[in-house]
């Protein structure tokens, strides 16, 4: 007798039922047997806070564009957004995976502490701001002040990066294949060693970007000159 697998997808139409119902039902999966474990949300119409606060090993497919904070504070879930996402997609995510088919607005993955955020389009300003352990892979380009005060985790950009990349960065690793318009305070280009190549390769693979050649990237990180306040550095701010 064949093992039964879950193939049914729970369909939620946001034109017919309120967002509150969707999030409530998704939250109820935490601590339960997490069934149904596959969800499809349609008619998102730019709604904010779609599928935020999840904490279950489920797959949520969001068909269309979403507003702010989609998949915010995600834990364990995989959220796929087919369209564009507004400000703060996957903000403060802890674990799981968030994949955006289109572009994302500013502060994507802000303060994220774990998990993986994949963006197939471009990301706006402040991508990975204050990131604390999340990994972010962007196929396109990212805007200014990305990875501002970034603490941990890795940011991979297959396109270009805007002004003030990695301003006041701590221990986050940044890899950029294209042009960097400018580096922020205390962010410098760093040596690309074998383990960095392995890290980059692994992230591209996890992001599903097997077609991207890892050899063309440059690595950026902290010069660590601002880690302890010295008056002689005051001109750097």
């Amino acid at each position: 007798m064949a093992v039964e697998t879950t193939t049914e997808v729970e369909l939620v139409d946001l034109a017919a039922s309120p967002l509150r119902d969707l999030n409530r039902r998704l939250h109820e999966l935490a601590g339960s047997d997490s069934r149904p474990d596959r969800w499809r949300v349609v008619n998102t119409n730019g709604a904010h806070a779609v599928a935020c606060g999840l904490d279950a090993p489920i797959e949520v497919e969001v068909a269309g564009h979403v507003g702010y904070y989609c998949a915010g504070m995600n834990q364990r879930a995989t959220v796929r957004i087919s369209g564009n996402a507004g400000t703060g997609v996957a903000e403060n995510m802890m674990s799981g995976t968030v994949i955006v088919g289109g572009n994302v607005s500013q502060s994507a993955g802000a303060s994220g502490r774990g998990g993986l955020l994949v963006v197939h389009g471009d990301a706006g300003a402040r991508c990975g701001i204050s990131m604390k352990g999340v990994d972010i892979v962007v196929r396109g380009s990212i805007g200014h002040l990305s990875a501002f005060m970034a603490q941990r985790g890795t940011l991979v950009v297959c396109g270009d990066a805007g002004e003030a990349l990695g301003d006041s960065i701590y221990e986050t690793h940044i890899y950029v294949r294209g042009r960097v318009a400018g580096l922020g305070a205390d962010c410098v280009e760093k040596e690309f060693r074998a383990h960095h190549r392995a890290e980059l390769h692994s992230l591209l693979e996890r992001g599903g970007f097997d077609d991207v050649d890892p050899s063309g990237f440059r690595r950026y990180g902290s010069a660590r000159t601002l880690y302890n306040f010295k008056i002689d550095n005051a001109g750097a701010y």
């Binding site: 509150r20 806070a49 904490d55 403060n92 604390k132 302890n228």
Partner: protein
């Protein structure tokens, strides 16, 4: 000139008002060290405060309540606007947000125990929630700060209320810096940063930038917590009228306004003393903003910044606040600046009654430190007892004053029960100068 060297003042020695001894010492220190003075505590300059107001006790035209006999209620419910589970407090005084990192673990535990003992709430701080703190605090408010250090949805869900911190009275518009020498292994781990480096706390939130964004951020936090928790918005007092209106518009359940006297663990002295407005005008502006929107009492107002006595509590409530919050005073109750440690304060270049180097991590009492030996001196049970006693005294004092004004609940105190001692306080608080019906500035746009 020999007489001068003999020490002490004598006729002809005239100190400059402009360049007094503190100013001269600070100029000399700046020239020597090449960096601004960073310290803890709040503003030390004199500003108009609740001391400049008096309550009008009942007499013939008003009827008092019997002290020690007749009931005067002190309970407060916070978060009645949208939250499914509002915060129910027994007293109108809460413990303000102070971080684990700035404070030792026993200090945080003591504050939680004390708040629990008297039926009020305590608040996390910049650095996340510790399990000890959650365990010791029956009612715990979880702060969402710009740094998002330790931010965790599990903690968010375990909290009893959420406080979005936009600013604090000691440094509106400023972030913070926890200096490297206070970063223990545990603090570093909680904040996702290496040990020993200065930890900058951002001044701006990473994922929202204005009132329209804030509205959506609040919705997200409500969605994550299934609309259960009250959402507070805390601002440092500056453009208070507008900030309060914008916070109401953004959907706050509760607004916390922290005047410039509010304390800090580590901020530049120039920031503490020169940015923000005093608590006194801030209360009036906040109440005015709420009243004009028809939201006074529907969105609750917590006022902090220099609350020291039950008189301060009563006067803040009379001006229209729903509750008050204490930080500095709670630490003093816990033992900060106690003469018991005079010798040790002297050894680190300070004195009991003057100690404000909370940033340094050398606190002999064990409050503002991450040194295990120093922190170990603070008994959280004994400390909690002292803070609980103090909270009870604040409440009893406020009740005493309210009864004298004929009020069966501290919330029945009203601006009509107040007069001001100075023209400045009258203008700022919007109550008449004592013995007159003159409220300077009334009838004019004063926002």
């Amino acid at each position: 000139m020999a007489a001068i060297h003999a020490g002490g003042w004598q006729p002809g020695l005239r100190e400059s008002y402009l360049y007094d001894r503190n100013v001269i010492a600070e100029i000399q220190r700046a020239a020597r060290e090449g960096i601004y003075d960073i310290r803890g505590f709040g503003a030390k300059r004199r500003v108009p405060h609740f001391d400049d107001l008096l309550l009008l006790g009942a007499s013939i035209s008003r009827y008092p309540l019997e002290g020690y006999r007749e009931r005067c209620g002190t309970d407060v419910v916070l978060g009645t606007r949208f939250a499914r589970k509002p915060l129910e407090l027994k007293i109108p005084v809460t413990i303000a947000g102070m971080s684990f990192g700035a404070l030792s673990a026993p200090a945080k535990e003591a504050l939680g125990r004390a708040a629990t003992e008297v039926g009020t709430s305590t608040t996390t701080g910049d650095g996340g929630m510790t399990p000890e703190e959650r365990q010791s605090s029956k009612l715990l408010v979880y702060q969402v700060l710009p740094s998002r250090y330790g931010m965790n949805p599990d903690d968010l869900r375990s909290a009893d209320a959420i406080e979005i911190v936009v600013g604090q009275g000691a440094k509106p518009g400023g972030g913070g810096m926890l200096l490297g020498h206070k970063i223990s292994d545990r603090v570093a781990e909680m904040r996702d940063l290496p040990k020993g480096i200065d930890q900058r706390s951002a001044s701006r939130h990473p994922d929202w930038t204005g009132p329209d964004d804030l509205e959506i951020k609040i919705i997200e936090l409500r969605e994550i917590t299934d609309w259960e928790k009250p959402v507070f918005v805390k601002v440092g007092a500056t453009r208070t009228y507008y900030d309060v209106q914008l916070a109401v518009k953004a959907g706050a359940d509760v607004i916390v306004v922290d005047g410039m006297q509010g304390g800090t663990a580590a901020t530049q002295d120039v920031f503490i003393e020169h940015v923000g407005i005093p608590t006194l005008p801030a209360v009036r502006l906040a109440v005015q903003a709420l009243t004009e929107l028809g939201m006074h009492r529907r969105v609750q107002l917590i006022v902090s910044g220099g609350i020291r006595t039950g008189a301060d509590v009563a006067k803040a409530l009379a001006l229209g606040a729903d509750a008050t919050s204490i930080g500095t005073a709670a630490l003093i109750a816990l033992g900060d600046n106690s003469p018991e440690h005079e010798e040790e304060y002297r050894a680190i270049g300070s004195a009991a009654g003057y100690y404000d180097d909370w940033q340094a991590g050398l606190d002999p009492v064990g409050i503002s430190t991450q040194d295990d030996d120093l922190a170990g001196r603070l008994d959280p049970v004994l400390g909690a007892r002292k803070v609980a006693n103090y909270l009870r005294v604040l409440t009893l004092e406020a009740q005493t004053l309210a009864r004298a004004c004929g009020k069966s609940h501290v919330h029945n105190l009203e601006p009509e029960d107040l007069v001001a001692l100075t023209v400045e306080a009258a203008a700022m608080a919007g109550v008449p100068l004592a013995g007159t019906n003159w409220i300077p500035g009334s009838g004019e746009a004063s926002r």
